[in-house]
């Protein structure tokens, strides 16, 4: 594919910088950018998973060193995530055969970005105003108050996370993340982290390590499945993305420590909404060439 090497490296670095700044994976930004560049969505999604594997390896190793990882919770998340991943790759292949892959990816991104973007925007504006008025942020729930779905059967004790909850909602969450990750080329950190924090109220110090562990395992499997079932992984592109992303993320993380969190959450929300809008336009605007061509090799 004739795409400039420097452009990919630069984009990888820029997205890596943003991901380091906000402490997110960056897959959900990189995959759409690759699609806008003209790389087929199938290749963009499958190849981006290699970059997610690399960045989550770095995070997991760091978390292991700081002992900020709940192995048991991580294992449960991985179990659900793997099933979700396998379903996702299978779904990906089926939709691609039916010729609707591009549509599914674009529609999913529009939905995801609009929902997550508006939630973040709402949150950051609220945070901003509370700080302005000199008030402190109230906790969302009082101690001892639990949502009913945490008391479903099959409860399990997670010592490291100080949790005693049903495994069913945890498995459902990780199943969804694994599925979405395989179909959209995202790690899902930006969904898992808030979910673990706010829904399950896992302590902050183990959240990132644990979710990165889950992302590492499921994306690794998704990457290999994509290579085998869809043959959509481009190793050269993957190396470029990884090199750009890994270094960008480190500088982003360093920079992020000196910046105001709520302002940047606001900017990220705007960014998400903008990318979502860009995708929506692609669906609505009349295509210049309504016909498209796909070839399948006849192998003897």
């Amino acid at each position: 594919m004739p795409v400039s090497v420097l452009l990919i490296l630069g984009m990888g670095a820029a997205v890596g910088f943003i991901s380091g700044l906000f402490g997110i994976g960056g897959g959900f930004l990189m995959t759409p950018l690759l699609i806008f560049l003209g790389i087929p969505p199938a290749v963009a999604v499958a190849t981006q998973s290699a970059q997610i594997v690399a960045s989550s390896t770095t995070s997991v190793l760091g978390a292991l060193r700081r002992n900020a990882l709940d192995h048991k919770l991580g294992a449960m998340l991985v179990a659900g995530g793997l099933i979700g991943s396998a379903l996702g790759v299978w779904f990906f292949a089926a939709v691609r055969r039916a010729g609707q892959l591009d549509l599914v990816i674009v529609v999913s991104y529009v939905t995801l970005f609009t929902v997550v973007g508006s939630l973040m925007l709402k949150e950051s504006i609220r945070e901003f105003w509370t700080k302005r008025r000199g008030g402190t942020l109230r906790l969302r729930r009082q101690a001892g108050e639990h949502a009913s779905y945490l008391r479903w059967p099959l409860r399990m004790r997670f010592y490291r996370s100080k949790l005693y909850v049903s495994v069913i909602p945890i498995l459902l969450l990780s199943l969804f993340i694994g599925f979405a990750g395989a179909v959209l080329g995202i790690g899902g950190g930006f969904i898992v982290v808030p979910a673990l924090l706010y829904i399950f109220r896992v302590p902050t110090n183990v959240v990132v390590g644990t979710s990165q562990f889950q992302i590492f395992c499921t994306t690794l499997v998704a990457l290999i499945l994509h290579a085998v079932m869809n043959q959509a992984v481009d190793m050269v592109l993957a190396i470029l993305l990884i090199i750009g992303g890994v270094f960008g993320a480190q500088f982003g993380a360093r920079m992020g420590r000196n910046l105001r969190a709520e302002l940047f959450r606001f900017l990220l929300a705007i960014l998400l909404l903008a990318v979502g809008l860009r995708f929506a336009l692609e669906l609505v605007i009349e295509p210049q060439e309504p016909f498209s061509l796909t070839a399948q090799e006849r192998r003897q």
Partner: protein, 254 residues
Amino acid sequence: MRRLCLLLIALASIAPASAETLITSLSNHRVLINSNYTGTSIAVFGAIERDAQTIARATSYDVVVTVRGPRQLLTVREKQKVGPVWVNQEQQKFPLAPAYLSVLTSKPIDEITSVQLRQRQKIGLAAIINAPDFTYERGGGADREFREALYRLKAQEGLYLEDERGVTFLTPDIFRASIPLPATAPPGEYDVQVVLFADTVILASTVTHFELVKTGFEEQVGAVARDWSLAYGLATAAMAIFFGWLASVIFRRD
């Protein structure tokens, strides 16, 4: 005796058709294309031999060179408006379409021979693409716009082309043609069919082959990804983990 006479007359009437012999040769039977490169071309040379008895023709010869690349299953899809969004709706499959197709002629093809003959013998790009067995037919000519779209999309990639000045006669009996091969031309077996015309009638034809082989780093990576997909996936994963580990070592904070 009478039967022998009839036989002789029959033989004599066939004789003019075999009076001309066509000899063709390719400059190469194995073409190497580097995937980063702009493409290449291959030359076809041909000579027309007339036996001693045949008198020279009043009109000049015409030549049509048709090059067909490896067969592919092509699917053409059409986006249509559903509510506010554009969605792939109708599709048309072309089960044995050549990945590459070029028709080179010595003059515009409609001046060489009749429409009926072109359709019957599949001479010329239009006749090949509009042949009934090229795709599954639909009622009311609905397949027509899909055939046109296939040609348009393939032509944009430089893979389907027709050149009415593609064959040049060096002498009245010797000609050459240059087959352009873009970098996107897929590897595989290519057939080169050369048909000799005079006075709208086919006099002779030959078929030769060449093999297109892709070289270059990207192509090798692509071949590994297709043929060793599991190993390729594992290697990519190992590489990603290695880079992740490397970053955690380089940028270690504690």
